[in-house]
């Protein structure tokens, strides 16, 4: 298990909620990380995120956040701030939030030394497979925020040769069909 996890969280079918997976995949396409760093598009893991905590020293998550700041702003949160958020009664099993996940991890004694959330303020969470303009423009800022946290942690990384396409499959245009149609 790698010592450090960089995980993008979010639902790629709900516009700016897809920023986490988008940034994780872009990072992976642009940089080469040491073998003890895992970069992952985690989608919407809910409580399953706990699986990713075992044995990690440091965790960096990228997610869309709600805030009064303007869309595309980058906000950093640390474990203690996230864990302080109010947890209400569960009305559905899909309710467990990041907060509940962290509190569970804490109770299990699996907390990493440090957890940072790079939050990108979203504009739209409507059903749509692409980011809004303001959030798309913030992708590079989010990547810079991730890299500066890695710098602080003393993690080295190298830029990959240009031209590696990030696997952002969900933004492909409609009507694309490449297979042969038989009569």
């Amino acid at each position: 298990m790698s010592r450090i996890l960089i995980g993008g969280i979010g639902n790629v079918l709900f516009a700016d909620d897809g920023i986490g997976p988008f940034v994780a995949r872009t990072l992976d396409a642009r940089y080469r990380f040491p073998s003890d760093v895992e970069v992952a598009d985690l989608g919407t893991p809910g409580l399953d995120l706990i699986d990713y905590f075992e044995g990690r020293e440091r965790i960096l998550l990228i997610d869309a956040v709600k805030s009064a700041e303007k869309p595309g702003s980058i906000l950093l949160y640390h474990q203690a701030e996230i864990a302080q958020c109010c947890v209400g009664p569960r009305t559905g099993p899909h309710a467990p939030s990041l907060t509940e996940t962290l509190l569970t991890v804490e109770m299990l004694g699996l907390s990493p030394q440090e957890l940072v959330l790079v939050g990108v303020v979203g504009q739209s969470y409507e059903t749509d497979c692409d980011l809004t303009g303001a959030v798309r423009e913030a992708v590079d800022d989010a990547i810079d925020a991730v890299l500066s946290e890695l710098d602080r942690w003393g993690v080295s990384y190298q830029a990959k040769p240009s031209g590696v396409e990030p696997g952002i499959w969900w933004t492909k245009p409609l009507g694309n069909f490449t297979a042969q149609v038989v009569q």
Binding site: I9, G10, N11, L13, D17, A40, D41, L42, G43, T44, P45, G46, L47, D48, I50, D51, E54, D63, V65, K66, S67, I82, A83, C85, C86, V87, G88, P89, R90, T91, G92, P93, H94, A95, P96, S97, L98, T99, E100, L103, T104, M107, L108, L117, G119, G122, Y125, T127, C129, W169, L174, G175, N176, F177, T178, A179, Q180, V181, V182, Q183
Partner: protein, 564 residues
């Protein structure tokens, strides 16, 4: 006096289910289930390559990803009448079983146990006594005095610190919580231990599927796993052996911890076999095919048209499912005035706010032969049991014997139609799946040993319009994806998910859905803490399959009580 209680997680992150109940003299007299967010999956898929539908379908939700991926490829394969290789079938089955075991364990421990287990009673527990209760239930090695003492110390630390963390919102001390401290201690110890075994079942899914959540190995026509017995890079003996070892650990936990715990909980709360019944009709779809053609199944399907009358038994579902499913939008936020078959289904949003007598939810009302039906482990176990399915009977009889001996009176199979019955049948199903897991791994190994390494049959798309339905008996019940394809491109797509059945609103005739009817008549001790309502709703393992999920640093409280 009549009160209306609204439990509304609309401000919650990932919360999408709202329940309104009218309480008359302490008893639920009416109920409404609503989903507060639009899924809109169907719109995303129109116009896309049918071979990629599963990739999008599994992104709709973070916890049920695998099941949507599977139903989606099956729908396209059904439309193409495309058989898949036996290896692909077994690999898919092993993934589905382990996904389900993970999901069932998470439900029992993390998502519903604390409705029944009062963690704040643990400091009063005698650790040695908890160990002897545990030893009476099974040979599980995690029931030692040291384990119990460690959990007790943890609970004392949490209670004394005042920082309750994850436990902050439990209804501790509620009059409906009545386990003795030692049982609370035992079950909470297993709550903590379960996480390790949930992780192991996900490791199995990841070995075959590439990653969790969101597996990568499916393809229309089979799976993308390469098989080579001598290679460590692809699926070979080394990985198959790794899967077998992990599976043995998961099976041991399911059979010696989860199953006995569920039986014990049922035995200690036998009154909940008389609460939360509701539905009269049940549907399960057959699953875990034992051949590429999918003609023989290890999990039986069927339809109970009238549970109350008892005489009719279980009807076959083959073919009928294709014809008899419709969705009604009278009380859902969509345009349209008649019930439509999913292939003809429309998804045109028409939001109107919450109106008890008009539209109040984003969930369409799924109907079978025009009537509501409950899906899920309860449906599956009742159907298997009444058909005489040997594996279902074996585990159900064992569960009822254990629960009855703790309760001190006989609990019969018909009492499973209840809140506690849903909890218990989920554990029965998990015990069955754990037993089947090893069989399907062996089927895979035997087939490979015959020299068959095929995992994929290439699809070819006809020029005309084709229709297909893919079903899967998911952890929450019958799931179906319906697709219309024209020259390889998706023309229409509808997902009728288990919660479309269970969280269904009223239909045009005013007939309530399963959640709504299950809540009727429930006694509520304290309107400010409607634990009884949550127990019944949680027993369905609700999932709104629409995980638009953002982190909301503000966090908000929810729930309200209004005098009418």
């Amino acid at each position: 006096m009549t009160k209306r209680i609204t439990i509304d997680p609309i401000t919650r992150i990932e919360g999408h289910l709202r329940i309104d109940v009218e309480v008359d003299n302490g008893k639920v007299s009416d109920a409404w289930a609503s989903c507060t967010m639009w899924r809109g999956l169907e719109k995303i898929l129109e116009g896309r390559d049918a071979r990629e539908a599963w990739l999008f379908a599994q992104r709709i939700c973070g916890v049920c990803t695998t099941v949507h991926a599977m139903a989606s490829v099956r729908a396209v394969e059904d439309a193409l009448k495309l058989e898949i290789p036996a290896n692909a079938q077994f690999i898919r089955n092993i993934i589905l079983i382990n996904h389900a075991l993970h999901d069932n364990m998470v439900h029992f421990y993390q998502l519903s146990a604390l409705d029944w287990v009062d963690v704040m009673q643990i400091p009063k527990a005698d650790a040695a006594r908890a160990t002897s209760i545990g030893e009476g239930l099974s040979s599980w090695t995690g029931n030692s005095r040291e384990h119990m003492q460690a959990t007790k110390d943890k609970a004392i630390r949490i209670a004394q610190s005042g920082q309750l963390g994850i436990l902050a919102n439990g209804y501790w001390g509620h009059p409906a919580m009545h386990l003795r401290p030692e049982v609370n201690l035992l079950l909470f110890t297993h709550y903590l231990q379960a996480l390790e075994f949930q992780r192991k079942s996900h490791q199995i899914v990841a070995i075959l599927g590439g990653k969790v959540p969101h597996i990568q190995n499916l393809t229309v026509g089979g799976v993308a796993n390469a098989i080579n017995l001598d290679s460590e890079a692809v699926l070979g003996m080394q990985r198959l052996e790794q899967i077998r070892l992990l599976m043995a650990e998961v099976t041991n936990f399911v059979h010696n911890v989860y199953f006995p715990d569920a039986c014990a909980l049922a035995g200690f709360y036998p009154e909940w076999f008389h609460i939360g019944g509701g539905s009269d009709r049940f549907i399960a779809v057959p699953d875990l095919p034992r051949d590429g053609k999918a003609t023989h199944f290890d999990l039986p399907g069927g339809y109970i048209r009238s549970f109350a009358s008892g005489g009719e038994g279980v009807l076959s579902i083959d073919g009928r499912f294709r014809e008899a499913v419709t969705e009604d939008v009278t009380h859902a936020y969509y345009k349209g005035d008649k019930a439509l078959h999913p292939w003809k289904g429309e998804t045109i949003p028409d939001y109107t706010d919450w109106h008890a007598d008009q539209k109040y939810t984003w969930v369409k009302a799924a109907r079978f032969e025009g009537q509501p039906a409950e899906v899920g482990p309860l449906a599956q176990v009742l159907i298997g049991y009444k058909q005489g399915h040997a594996l279902t009977r074996k585990w159900t009889d064992l569960a009822l014997d254990r629960a009855s001996s703790i309760a001190g009176h006989r609990i019969g199979v018909d009492q499973l139609r209840s809140t506690m019955g849903r909890q218990l049948t989920r554990a029965i199903r998990a015990a069955m799946l754990a037993e089947l897991a090893d069989q399907h791994l062996q089927l895979l190994i035997d087939n490979i040993a015959k020299g068959d390494y095929t995992t994929h049959n290439a699809p070819s798309f006809p020029s005309g319009e084709i229709e297909g339905v893919g079903t899967h008996e998911a952890p929450r019940g019958a799931l179906s994806h319906w697709v219309v394809i024209d020259k390889g491109i998706i023309k229409n797509y509808q997902a009728v998910v288990p919660s479309t059945w269970n969280a269904s609103p009223r239909d045009k005739a005013g007939v309530r859905g399963p959640y709504e009817s299950a809540l009727l008549g429930t006694q509520i001790a304290d309107a400010e803490k409607p634990l009884e309502t949550l127990r019944t709703i949680h027993s369905f393992d609700p999932c709104m399959a629409c995980a638009c999920h953002t982190f909301d640093p503000a966090g908000k409280k929810l729930g309200s009580v209004e005098d009418l």
